[in-house]
């Protein structure tokens, strides 16, 4: 598959009569967005607020973050199987509004949604302090069941991102990057002297507020499969979950998967990027055995020399991570793990819930238990009512003056276990 990704750089966002991009500024029509969101009668009211880098704004509780994109050509539309028809995506041309993001927030679904600060000491921990955010604040219908609320929020975010993405359809991109992966035999033969590297992408699938969707299929119902790396850029994978906020792989992160990005950067230079193996993180031992067996089988079948493995979440998925690591290594395929750590607030405990001796090459995404203090923000989008029950928060986290003392876990994607950030932990 060959995809041209046209990057349209956005450096400001404003409300406007028409949703369009003019010289780097994204204008969005508030009423049209609200109307779109309210099409779903599970949502009784909605509002849209803007948050720009550097502003004194706190957004909480955050459900998902999505980059506005549009499929210009090549078949299919964005987020197939979630809001659009199920069609193969990953080819042709897609435009992305880079520097813009749709953030869904509103009354908490569970307790694992986090926050984003647009400035101040907590800002550097999340990539979304640097994007121009269109925050969609939703209010669910009274008495709505939790699974329903989550679905409504998810669909709303994707619809709004696709709607805004349309503004990029006929805009000339500032940069076009070409990504191409050929069918296996061709790909192997294209760079015969280079090591064949694959990416094992573990999808969160524990259930209620811990789901991910591939072309609309709940990942817990999948068996491991192969995906062309470009499919993810068109929204084939969508987040339906609110794991610990620090770990959350937002739909934005799926679209901008850093492992895929960085493997492509060196594709044809010092490695041959063969493709992506998708697997899940289920809660039954039989599923874990099956998925890790099959993941190892696929790695061997594809003739890979090495793989990078990323996970989403901690605790339960650490087991899957280690099972994958062990079984893939036993097939003779070299493994590097990327994950975050939870060694307690003093950094002295064990970082992972599980361990295997084959896990001898690990890249750290930081300690999520560290306590950080950050000051009040002038404006809050959403509500701070739930801070103390959100993961990372505790009794007394939210001070009367609006400042917060909490574990780093509470900041969205602060220690995301796919290597997107520069935050890491080292041993002292």
């Amino acid at each position: 598959m060959r995809l041209e990704l046209g990057k349209i750089k956005i450096n400001n966002v404003q409300f406007g009569e028409k949703t369009e991009v003019v010289k780097g500024t994204l204008y969005v029509n508030k009423d049209e967005i609200i109307k779109l969101v309210l099409e779903d009668d599970r949502i009784i009211s909605a509002d849209v607020e803007l948050a720009r880098p550097g502003e004194s704004v706190r957004i909480a509780p955050v459900k998902d973050v999505i980059e506005p994109r549009v499929k210009v050509s090549g078949g299919g539309e964005m987020f197939p199987g979630s809001i659009n028809k199920v069609r193969q995506v990953g080819s042709g041309r897609t435009h992305a509004l880079v520097g813009a993001a749709v953030v869904t927030c509103g009354r908490i679904v569970g307790f694992q949604e986090g926050l984003i600060d647009m400035s101040g000491p907590a800002a550097k921990y999340t990539p979304f302090s640097e994007t121009n955010n269109i925050c969609v604040v939703i209010e669910p219908a009274k008495g709505i069941e939790t699974h329903d609320y989550e679905a409504a929020g998810r669909i709303a975010g994707l619809k709004v991102a696709a709607y805004i993405g349309e503004a990029g359809r006929n805009t000339e991109p500032d940069e076009v990057v070409v990504y191409e992966t050929k069918p296996i035999l061709e790909q192997v033969n294209e760079y015969p002297g280079l090591p064949k590297i694959g990416y094992v992408h573990m999808l969160q699938s524990q259930g209620l507020l811990h789901d991910t969707y591939y072309y609309g299929v709940d990942a817990k119902l999948m068996v491991p499969t192969f995906m062309y790396p470009t499919e993810i850029m068109d929204g084939a994978i969508v987040s339906g979950n609110c794991v610990a906020p620090c770990d959350k792989v937002t739909t934005f992160h799926h679209l901008n998967n850093p492992v895929i990005e960085d493997l492509y950067k060196r594709h044809g230079k010092d490695l041959n990027f063969i493709g992506v193996i998708l697997t899940n993180e289920n809660v039954f031992l039989a599923d874990k055995e099956r998925s890790s067996d099959m993941t190892a089988k696929l790695c061997e079948f594809l003739g890979l020399d090495g793989v990078l493995i990323t996970e989403e979440g901690y605790g339960n998925p650490d087991t899957d991570l280690m099972m994958n690591c062990k079984k893939v290594s036993q097939k003779g395929v070299k493994v590097v793990l990327i994950t975050d750590e939870f060694p307690g607030r003093d950094g002295k405990s064990q970082s992972l819930a599980d361990a295997v001796e084959e896990g001898d090459a690990l890249v750290s995404c930081g300690n999520g238990n560290v306590i950080i203090n950050f000051p009040p923000m002038e404006k809050v989008i959403g509500t701070l009512d739930f801070i103390e029950t959100m993961i990372g928060g505790y009794e007394g986290s939210l001070k009367p003056d609006g400042s917060i003392e909490a574990e780093l876990q509470i900041v969205i994607a602060s220690t995301i276990a796919n290597g997107y950030n520069k935050l890491a932990a080292k041993g002292y």
Partner: protein
């Protein structure tokens, strides 16, 4: 916590779903549970069958406590 109970001299059996973690951290007597959202039972079978299942799992746990072992043992 399992190891601290064992260290205090009380035989302990760990009933859990994520058996590999239990093995790694060193629990000695392990009984696999049903699933993370419902370790001791299965609501999908209906209340009566679920309770029966729970009973049989706890019986297994008691058996494990009464079985001499020399190394980590998973009682399937």
């Amino acid at each position: 916590m399992v190891k601290e109970i064992e260290r205090a001299g009380i035989p302990v059996v760990h009933m859990c779903t994520v058996v590999p973690i239990s093995l790694t951290i060193g629990a000695n007597r392990i009984v696999p549970a049903i699933g993370i959202p419902y370790p001791l039972g299965d609501p999908n079978l209906g209340e009566e069958k679920s309770k029966k299942l729970r009973r049989s799992l706890v019986e297994k746990a008691l058996k494990a406590l009464q079985t001499e072992i020399t190394e980590q043992t998973v009682f399937e």
